[in-house]
């Protein structure tokens, strides 16, 4: 079905077949060496299998003219809520699709579908982050649901976790990291990799600033010291603060 990746190949890449042409090893003792030995120089990233699948994801997105956004944060920072607000505001102007990553359940995908937007739930079955091969599968499933309708923006909500997702490129055009006010102001310094690898930083639940010690200017400064290219938004889904700026930013990303 898919010319970019030739499908079927990556979809099962996580389960290397155990059948092979060689006789079984390690029959006696510690599996003593029988043949000759040789060194193979490799010099490649440990993340290579994920990176290759990410490249094919990106090729899919580009071929279809889709702008893709990978949203990462701790559990409960407000990722799904932000998507709900974004969909409400923009669904008449742009075609949005969503991939929802969670360890279990399809509650978040259900929330998105209620807004009248196609969504596919990706359940990792234990893993605390999304990987490219799962996103690839989910993307084809989403296309199936779309039935030929074109997408402008694909949001990928990652599993709630501020560490692991930053290691796994999904082929996205931009990565967006969220920190909510109740989580505390030390997050950029404690989880620098999430900020180093993101393009956008959103401080969420700004309506709660009066109740917490959260110095917004200091947090912005810390985040920029880790990554001076971060585009920063301060929003509240409750009061609507900052949402317009975020919507405008997303509208500008639409291709064509």
């Amino acid at each position: 079905m898919c010319d970019v990746c030739g499908c079927g190949h990556h979809h099962d890449s996580k389960s290397p077949s155990t059948s092979h042409d060689h006789p079984p090893f390690a029959k006696g003792g510690q599996g003593g060496i029988i043949g000759e030995t040789r060194i193979i120089d490799v010099n490649e990233s440990l993340l290579k299998s994920n990176e290759s699948a990410a490249i094919s994801n990106r090729a899919h997105f580009d071929e279809k003219g889709i702008f893709s956004v990978n949203i990462i944060s701790s559990p409960g920072s407000g990722k799904t809520t932000l998507l709900e607000k974004t969909i409400e505001a923009l669904k008449n102007d742009i075609n949005i699709g969503v991939l929802e990553g969670d360890i279990e359940t399809d509650l978040d995908a259900e929330r998105i579908r209620k807004k009248g937007i196609p969504a596919v739930q990706l359940t990792t079955g234990g893993a605390c982050h999304l990987e490219s091969s799962l996103v690839h599968k989910g993307f084809h499933e989403l296309e199936h649901q779309l039935n030929g309708k074109k997408l402008d923006i694909l949001f990928i909500e990652n599993v709630g976790n501020l560490v692991c997702p930053s290691f796994f490129n999904l082929g996205e055009h931009i990565r967006v990291v969220l920190v909510s006010v109740p989580e505390g102001p030390d997050k950029p310094l404690k989880y620098p990799k999430a900020f180093k690898t993101s393009h956008v930083f959103i401080i969420t639940k700004s309506d709660l600033v009066p109740y917490f010690d959260f110095d917004i200017e200091k947090v912005k400064k810390d985040a920029l010291s880790i990554n001076p290219f971060l585009n920063i938004f301060v929003i509240s889904a409750k009061t609507g603060e900052g949402l317009k700026e975020w919507f405008d930013f997303i509208k500008k990303q639409k291709h064509d």
Binding site: K14, H22, T37, I39, C164
Partner: protein, 116 residues
């Protein structure tokens, strides 16, 4: 625990490389892991040793990990220095924070020793 996923990805890669080279088994793997890579070396080692048992090519593979130190060059005075400060390193010579990282972010498979 991204280390588990990284170990599984590594198993896929090692299997592919070993097959391409018609290896009967992989004896050792050398990895280079930077001090600022965000990988907990013990967790990776543990995950790999637990998972490898199911793979005939890898079930007796030993991994050797070289931890690569964090080294910066100062953009201001060109001094090169090693540090353990992964958050806010500054140049010991001129105190500048304007630094370029030279090593410490590695996450690499360097080589394998295989039996052919």
């Amino acid at each position: 625990m991204h280390e588990v996923s990284i170990a599984m990805g590594m198993i896929d890669e090692l299997t592919r490389i070993a097959r391409e080279n018609n290896a009967r088994k992989v004896i050792t793997v050398k990895l280079k892991i930077g001090k600022m890579s965000g990988i907990v070396i013990d967790s990776l080692q543990f995950a790999f040793d637990a998972a490898k048992l199911e793979y005939p090519l890898l079930n007796s593979t030993a991994i050797f990990i070289e931890e690569v130190p964090l080294i910066y060059e100062c953009n201001n005075c060109k001094n090169t220095f090693k540090t353990d400060d992964i958050y806010f390193p500054s140049c010991p010579g001129c105190k500048s924070y304007n630094l370029k990282i030279l090593s410490g972010e590695e996450l690499h498979i360097e080589n394998l020793e295989v039996e052919v």
